[in-house]
């Protein structure tokens, strides 16, 4: 089976997931992202790398924040950016995903940035492009179902490397709703690939996927134990609708046992950093004092996110 996101000589064709991506490519993306970070400080905040290319942000699931960061990244690379919220337009009229894509290809798309509620949807797109001889069009997964959110995983790695340099001496804890989180899956895949010796997940059993240990993590149900001595705390967003089923009794109880407070954070290493993919639910998974505190690197994450997305887009454009 051919790996759909790599070319035959092992370069990046699409970015669909971090799971199974070689360490060398992960490191290359982070390296290439570095010089992009200070484009924002220039007189002209633009590089000509994607000049004349059309990037289609196709969002089958609404997310203004993620879409905006991709839009800024593409525009800084001088691309023409077209935003499509498909959830509100064609699919409600019965058009299939591939119909929509074929239409956009006919409009001259060079790159798709795709968000979809179904795990694996970008693979369908990548396979369709290959089957129809349009391999030159790249796909960037901007989040698919519970499966992957590779650019978020990469920007988290960039942030960790920025503050901690060496991955091989870190203990990292991923806290919260791992079961429903594409961010968690991408983070765990990247952390284990980059050689973090201990990746912990902290959550009640209802929020952990079956056989999660097989992803190479150590499982903790007690947050105090799980945070002991960690260098990096990666919080996950807890969707409000999780309170409606039988997963959790209430947000109050969740905050009491799994919310990140100053007291709990004090158990981590003194210089531990706290990440969160946003948007935060203050008082549910994270206390305001931590979110706004000295250990939080949540805003730098957003800044680095643009550089990382620029790196991914320009590598895809260069590889083709």
């Amino acid at each position: 089976m051919l790996n759909p996101q790599l070319t035959q000589d092992g370069r990046l064709r699409h970015l669909l997931t971090l799971d199974g991506l070689p360490k060398s490519i992960l490191a290359e993306i982070l390296d290439i992202a570095a010089p992009f970070t200070d484009v924002a400080e220039r007189e002209v905040k633009k590089l000509p790398l994607l000049r004349g290319k059309s990037v289609f942000n196709v969002f089958f699931e609404n997310s203004t924040r993620t879409r905006t960061t991709f839009e800024i990244a593409a525009k800084r690379l001088s691309a023409d950016v077209i935003n499509l919220n498909v959830s509100t337009s064609s699919t409600s009229k019965g058009e299939t995903l591939l119909d929509t894509v074929d239409n956009l290809c006919a409009m001259g798309a060079d790159m798709f940035v795709m968000r979809h509620a179904s795990s694996g949807a970008p693979y369908l797109l990548a396979q369709h492009l290959r089957a129809t001889g349009r391999d030159h069009i790249s796909v960037v997964n901007a989040g698919d179902g519970r499966h992957a959110h590779p650019t978020q995983g990469l920007l988290d790695m960039y942030t960790i490397r920025h503050y901690k340099q060496d991955f091989t001496r870190l203990t990292v804890a991923v806290v919260g709703d791992v079961l429903h989180s594409r961010v968690a899956r991408s983070e765990i895949a990247a952390l284990t690939t980059l050689g973090v010796p201990e990746v912990r997940v902290i959550a009640p059993k209802t929020l952990l996927p079956t056989d999660v240990e097989r992803m190479g993590v150590r499982v903790f149900h007690n947050m105090e134990e799980g945070l002991k001595g960690v260098d990096v705390v990666m919080m996950l967003r807890l969707q409000n609708e999780r309170m409606q089923g039988a997963l959790l009794p209430s947000s109050q109880e969740y905050f009491k046992f799994y919310g990140l407070t100053q007291e709990k954070l004090a158990l981590a290493a003194k210089d531990a950093i706290v990440l969160h993919p946003g948007p935060m639910n203050r008082g549910v998974e994270i206390d305001s004092a931590v979110a706004d505190g000295a250990n939080a690197v949540i805003l730098p994450q957003v800044t680095f996110g643009i550089a990382v997305r620029m790196a991914v887009m320009s590598m895809l454009a260069a590889g083709n």
């Binding site: 995903l97 694996g120 519970r146 079956t210 097989r214 992803m215």
Partner: protein
């Protein structure tokens, strides 16, 4: 029409026969094996040297998509596929639109099928009206109309009191009840085996317990009611163990497996291949090994195609949004032969699972064997020819199978239904 099938290796599991013999057919029936009856003058001679002469296959589940889903497949197209696959009898499940829950619908289907003179179609009727699990169907009338069993297919009956009553009523008349073990709550929204693969891919899982919990309920109620119970499409080692425990406790229960579960497991989903989306889901490698061994030992009585043609539009979707199912009529024999080769099972044993055993589960006596007096439903094939599965090679309207592009053993050369050659491969 009198036919003489000469020099073939006749394998008839029902009579434990595996020998080079001639077969003589007249008036749609088998009239003699070995020596020709006195005065027999063949209108047609089929030279079967080097070929296997077996009973036409009996498939426990093939969706013909009529009525209601004719854009996916039609009776005509799927009958051609059955012929090309050597299948001469098949049971079709009631999950059509409308649901097969009224005698008129069953009669109509039987009538339409008969007119085509291809495979014998045995409808399985719904156990409850519209498969809703509330009211039992007119079982006795449905049997008179031609049904062989009653089923809920993949719509589990949640109300255990209705289930018990349905079983009691069926047991009153000695009718067969076929049930698919699915706990609707544990399986809710699930699309893949709940294990490492689904967890990594972020696909909602269906735990093995969704199968075993429902199965334990069915087995308990079968013991209580004395119904003739058949468990369809088991997918896990644990389910087989449940059935074995019930048998040890004295319950007479049969079960089958879908042929693709003998060859595939959750790893085969690969990069979200919707062709591998089936109900029940492809489970772990250990489960697959247990199913393969269970079929060899006879703990699993039969294997079926679970033929479910889905058009490209239904499959070219993100995994969880795609339609479940695989096309199978033309793969049942090749995949059964492949399993037999790999597990070193004699052909007699392997063919029993798709002929005599499945005929027994359906309760048909005139088909599934080559005894003198039986219906002359015959499948003549070359077990040593390997053929590549391609979209063009499949006659079924459903091209949905992950086996596309693979070479499989077994080439059907002739299919006879009631003494008529309904299919012959170009030599």
């Amino acid at each position: 029409m009198k036919i003489h099938i000469a020099k073939g290796r006749v394998i008839d599991p029902a009579s434990q026969l595996d020998a080079e013999q001639d077969l003589f057919i007249a008036d749609g029936k088998i009239v003699a094996r070995g020596a020709a009856p006195e005065g027999f003058k063949a209108d047609k001679l089929i030279d079967a040297a080097g070929l296997i002469v077996a009973p036409g296959l009996v498939d426990l589940s093939a969706r013909l998509r009529e009525p209601g889903f004719e854009y996916r497949a039609t009776l005509e197209s799927e009958m051609q596929a059955a012929m090309a696959g050597g299948i001469t009898s098949l049971a079709c499940p009631p999950d059509t639109d409308p649901v097969l829950d009224e005698p008129g619908l069953v009669e109509m289907l039987c009538f339409r099928a008969k007119k085509l003179h291809c495979a014998h179609v045995y409808p399985v009727a719904a156990l409850t009206t519209k498969l809703e699990g509330k009211r039992i169907t007119e079982m006795a009338e449905l049997v008179e109309a031609g049904c062989v069993a009653f089923s809920q297919v993949n719509t589990p009956l949640v109300d255990t009191q209705v289930l018990m009553r349905a079983m009691q009523y069926a047991a009153t008349f000695g009718f067969r009840v076929w049930l698919q073990p699915i706990d609707p709550f544990l399986a809710r929204a699930g699309v893949a085996h709940d294990g490492e693969v689904a967890s990594r891919m972020g696909l909602a899982g269906i735990p093995v317990e969704a199968e075993t919990i429902a199965l334990e309920t069915y087995l308990s109620l079968a013991k209580l009611t004395g119904v003739k119970l058949h468990i369809t499409r088991i997918s896990s080692a644990a389910a087989l163990a449940c059935i074995e425990r019930a048998r040890a406790g004295g319950l007479d229960v049969t079960c089958d497996v879908a042929v693709h579960h003998l060859h595939l497991c959750d790893n085969d989903i690969g990069y979200f291949d919707p062709q591998c989306y089936v109900i029940p889901p492809l489970r772990s490698q250990r489960d697959r090994a247990a199913l393969r061994a269970g079929l060899a030992s006879g703990k699993i009585n039969a294997v079926c195609s679970d033929h479910t043609p889905v058009d490209d539009d239904g499959k070219q979707m993100p995994f969880a949004e795609a339609e479940p199912g695989m096309t199978g009529l033309e793969l049942l024999l090749p995949l059964t032969l492949k399993w037999a080769l790999e597990e070193k099972q004699p052909l007699l044993q392997a063919l029993a699972r798709v002929t005599a055993a499945s005929a027994g589960i359906m309760g048909i006596t005139k088909g599934g064997h080559l005894g003198v007096g039986a219906r002359a439903d015959v499948c003549i094939f070359n077990p040593d020819a390997w053929r590549k599965v391609t979209r063009d090679s499949l006659r079924s309207q459903g091209k949905n199978t992950p086996f596309l592009g693979l070479e499989l053993p077994g080439e059907v050369r002739y299919t006879l239904v009631e003494g008529r050659v309904m299919y012959s491969a170009a030599a």
